[in-house]
């Protein structure tokens, strides 16, 4: 039997890196095939080649035995290959039907299209109103838009890039159900992920990439997650460790905080209350777009609020700006590294000044002490093992993991009383992620309070003492993280968003 898609010796090099090196594997009709690897292993480059966004330097692909070399995504779609992206492919100001039409070669008339959208969404249990603006949808609903866009074209091969990173556990269940149904109807699915348990539940075969090379193809149900992890990472990783301890005094307190959204598609915070104690790690879970960015900017001081709604050691600082809060010891590290936590075109030295200015005494009477600033940058680089030629390098030249270590390190080296981090390990390779988590735990061990906002539930359960969830701008009551089950967490995250239509 010929494979649906056979990949032979695909190679793609970028200046300085070989993204894919002689990769070969095959996907069968009706198979759910996992593509597994760390960040930077070359998964996205590989699927971009299959989808026609990138041309391989060497190697061939065959679709049902015939040569397959899509010059552009349109050609790939015409050949029956569809893709659900992790991000970057929806238009917030357009409605669902318009978004879907943009992904089709010959879309039917708007009214017919809306009818077909309704039909497909019912068939696969993915309710969706064709005339709603995408900007108003939750992350899970947006993903449905992408999936339906693909399904309307009867794909033979459906590529899904990290689809569960934006879903609650309940929504993951629904997605898996849909995918199994599709596979049973003969659609092959290429499922990209780094979450091992998911792959073991869903996939028939797994191809594992490491540093651009294929290291193994296996049947996930027959091997352990630990085995796959080792293949993926190439070494066994140490799990972050900390000693048991008693929490100290309350350091940061947020009470009855409500903030309305600043942008048309932003999330309003509703009556958020939280407190963290010395030595404690508070994990805040939630699906993207439920108020994480807004919460961080309220804590960092970018969005000023009523003075009394945020207090640090009893001092009301809600009305203070970022620099004043840093002076008092409340430090933050936002999610977006390039452009928010750091300025892409500025050197690491200049980026060290960005938050270290007052607390590190890098400025006197308005004048910058550049040699001290460089010293601070060098200290961060040395302490947190940031791989870079030196502090004069522009931030954008660093890999995601290295820049994240720099950003987190910059805050930790300022001895925060309270540190708030948003998505500390997003897009970071496994060893850097482990180092960052350990650093956060060490910080708490030293008596600081740490708030970790993240979508990665495994990460939160690993390092948090207390866990709570953000859902549509509301924060749930914190619960001890130890012993919390996925089912409970899923409900805290809001269960399956907007599934009432199904329930009806």
């Amino acid at each position: 039997m010929t494979a649906l898609l056979a990949i032979e010796g695909l190679t793609k090099a970028y200046p300085g890196v070989v993204a894919n090196d002689d990769v070969s594997f095959a996907i069968q009709t009706g198979e759910v095939h996992a593509l597994l690897g760390e960040n930077g292993a070359g998964k996205s480059t590989l699927v971009k080649m299959i989808y026609g966004l990138v041309k391989p330097d060497r190697g061939v692909m065959r679709l049902r035995g015939a040569p397959y070399a899509p010059a552009e995504p349109r050609a790939a779609r015409a050949a029956g290959v569809a893709m659900v992206f992790q991000h970057f492919s929806l238009f917030e100001a357009l409605n669902v039907a318009e978004n879907i039409a943009l992904g089709m070669e010959n879309p039917p008339k708007p009214r017919d299209l809306a009818e077909r959208i309704r039909k497909v969404s019912e068939t696969y249990g993915l309710p969706l109103d064709p005339f709603r603006l995408v900007g108003d949808l939750s992350a899970g609903e947006r993903q449905r838009v992408e999936i339906i866009r693909c399904l309307l074209q009867d794909p033979k091969l459906l590529i899904m890039d990290e689809p569960t990173s934006v879903l609650t556990p309940q929504e993951v269940e629904i997605l898996f159900h849909t995918l199994r149904k599709l596979a049973a109807e003969g659609t092959a699915i290429l499922y990209i992920s780094h979450k091992l348990e998911e792959i073991r539940t869903l996939c028939d075969t797994a191809t594992i990439l490491r540093l651009g090379k294929k290291v193994a193809t296996c049947t996930p149900r027959d091997v352990t997650a630990a085995h796959m992890a080792e293949l993926m990472v190439g070494k066994s990783l140490s799990v972050p460790a900390r000693d048991a301890h008693e929490p100290g005094a309350v350091l940061l307190k947020v009470e009855g905080l409500s903030v309305s959204a600043a942008s048309p598609f932003g999330t309003s915070l509703r009556d958020v209350t939280l407190e963290v104690r010395a030595g404690e790690v508070l994990g805040i879970g939630g699906v993207a777009g439920n108020g994480q960015d807004e919460l961080l900017s309220v804590l960092s001081g970018e969005t000023p609020v009523a003075a009394g709604s945020v207090t640090l050691k009893g001092v009301a600082l809600g009305a203070l700006g970022p620099e004043a809060r840093r002076g008092l010891g409340l430090l933050c590290a936002p999610e977006e590294r390039l452009g928010h936590a750091a300025a892409p075109d500025m050197s690491l030295t200049e980026n060290a000044l960005l938050t270290g200015r007052g607390r590190k005494g890098l400025e006197a009477r308005g004048f910058v002490d550049w040699s001290r600033t460089r010293g601070f940058a060098e200290a961060i680089i040395a302490r947190f093992d940031v791989r870079t030629p030196g502090p004069g390098v522009a931030a954008r030249a660093l890999s995601g993991g290295n820049l994240q270590k720099f950003v987190i390190g910059r805050e930790i080296l300022q001895d925060p009383v309270v540190l708030v981090v948003n998505q500390p390990t997003w897009g970071v390779d496994a060893s850097a992620a482990a180092a960052i988590r350990q650093a956060l735990l060490d910080l708490a061990q030293g008596g600081a309070a740490v708030i970790v906002i993240s979508q990665d539930l495994d990460e939160l359960l690993e390092i948090s003492d207390l866990f709570c969830a953000l859902n549509e701008g509301r924060l749930s009551v914190p619960r001890p993280a130890r012993g919390l089950g996925m089912e409970e967490i899923g409900l805290m995250l809001g269960g399956a968003h907007d599934m009432h239509e199904v329930a009806r």
């Binding site: 970022p322 936002p334 928010h340 938050t355 308005g366």
Partner: protein
């Protein structure tokens, strides 16, 4: 196929090399334009770039003109560069220049014909204030009503021109001018005069102010936290907010400073080289300064050099008009061309060109 590839780091070589190459390419393209006008291109380029400084016949007159013309350009461009670096686009410097001149001249004329030594400093202060206030209109509207400062500052140029016309023909008109438009000649009165400080150099108080502004801007950008905040706001606005930079304050500061400097430039001009308020005493320095700011890569030292170069094209252009009959408009087009080439070559600093052959699959 040629592809562009983003450099991990901006190229240091091209940051300096691009403006130089842009000037060379403009000379070539300008030469072609002059040839199309039926003039000898080599001669035209020589007259524009060489003769004003080195020809025995003209240098005596035109060398001092270099500083006279470069002074206001540099002064305005330095102010503009503050905002441009922060992503705040004041393109109405021409209007601020006019209003500054009107304020300054009005102050001087109010005490006419007194020769009190405080009158001229008062005029400078009034010029600064006039430009500042005019720039506050777009600044406050941007901060408090989120109105686009590009459009407001530019539209206000036309309003300022209407104001100038009414001043020249009405409320500032020379009462002894037998009804002709235009104010009294400020340069003829020792109390209001902005004199040439060193004979034969063209150096007046405005040129001195321009040099001081260059040095101040250099210090601000290289050592002061304000320069850092300005750059941060321009390159990564969200990061700037995260760092604690108050965006609104920065808008007011940058627009205010550039408006004040443009206003001062207007006053120095009207009290010195121009002599008096007339309906068209402004010759577009406010717009040319935009080219100067970009050509100098928004860097104070670069602006100093770019201002001198642009002044040279003005003087050389007048000379070419005289000697070859090249229309004044050709020089304006020439300057615009320079900006085009500069913008086009900017790509070299941040991107690399790469030859790329498609591999047959």
């Amino acid at each position: 196929m040629i592809r562009l590839e983003k450099r991990p780091q901006p190229s240091r070589f091209w940051v300096v090399g691009a403006p130089v190459l842009a000037v060379l390419l403009t000379m070539i393209a300008g030469g072609i334009m002059f040839a199309a006008l039926g003039k000898n291109p080599v001669e035209a380029i020589r007259i524009i770039f060489w003769d004003p400084l080195f020809s025995e016949r003209f240098a005596g007159f035109s060398r001092p003109q270099l500083l006279v013309k470069a002074g206001p350009l540099i002064l305005i461009a330095i102010g503009l560069s503050l905002g441009f670096r922060a992503g705040i686009w004041n393109i109405g410097a021409e209007g601020q220049y006019i209003v500054g001149a009107l304020f300054g001249a009005a102050f001087g004329l109010a005490f006419w014909p007194s020769e009190h030594p405080l009158i001229f400093p008062g005029m400078i202060a009034a010029g600064l204030l006039g430009g500042f206030l005019w720039a506050m209109i777009p600044a406050l509207l941007r901060v408090y009503a989120r109105t686009n400062e590009i459009l407001v500052s530019l539209l206000l140029v036309y309003v300022a021109e209407a104001l100038l016309a009414s001043a020249a023909t009405g409320w500032l008109r020379n009462p002894e001018g037998s009804g002709f438009p235009g104010s009294r000649n400020l340069a003829r009165n020792p109390g209001t005069d902005n004199p040439e400080l060193i004979a034969g150099t063209g150096m007046h108080w405005g040129v001195l102010a321009a040099f001081v502004a260059v040095i101040a801007a250099y210090v601000i950008f290289s050592r002061h936290i304000l320069g850092y905040q300005i750059r941060l706001a321009g390159e990564a606005p969200r990061a700037a907010r995260f760092a604690g930079v108050n965006a609104g304050r920065l808008v007011i500061l940058c627009l205010g400073a550039s408006g004040a400097l443009a206003g001062a430039a207007g006053l120095f001009e009207v009290a010195g080289p121009a002599g008096r308020i007339s309906i068209d005493f402004n010759v577009g320095y406010g717009f040319t300064a935009i080219i100067v700011a970009f050509l100098g890569r928004l860097n104070p030292i670069g602006i100093l050099l770019a201002g001198l170069l642009m002044a040279l094209t003005f003087i050389g252009g007048e000379l070419a008009q005289l000697m070859l009959g090249i229309p004044a408009a050709a020089i304006q087009a020439f300057q615009g061309m320079l900006l085009f080439f500069l913008l086009a070559l900017d790509v070299l600093a941040n991107y690399r060109f790469r030859w790329k052959r498609e591999v047959a699959a």
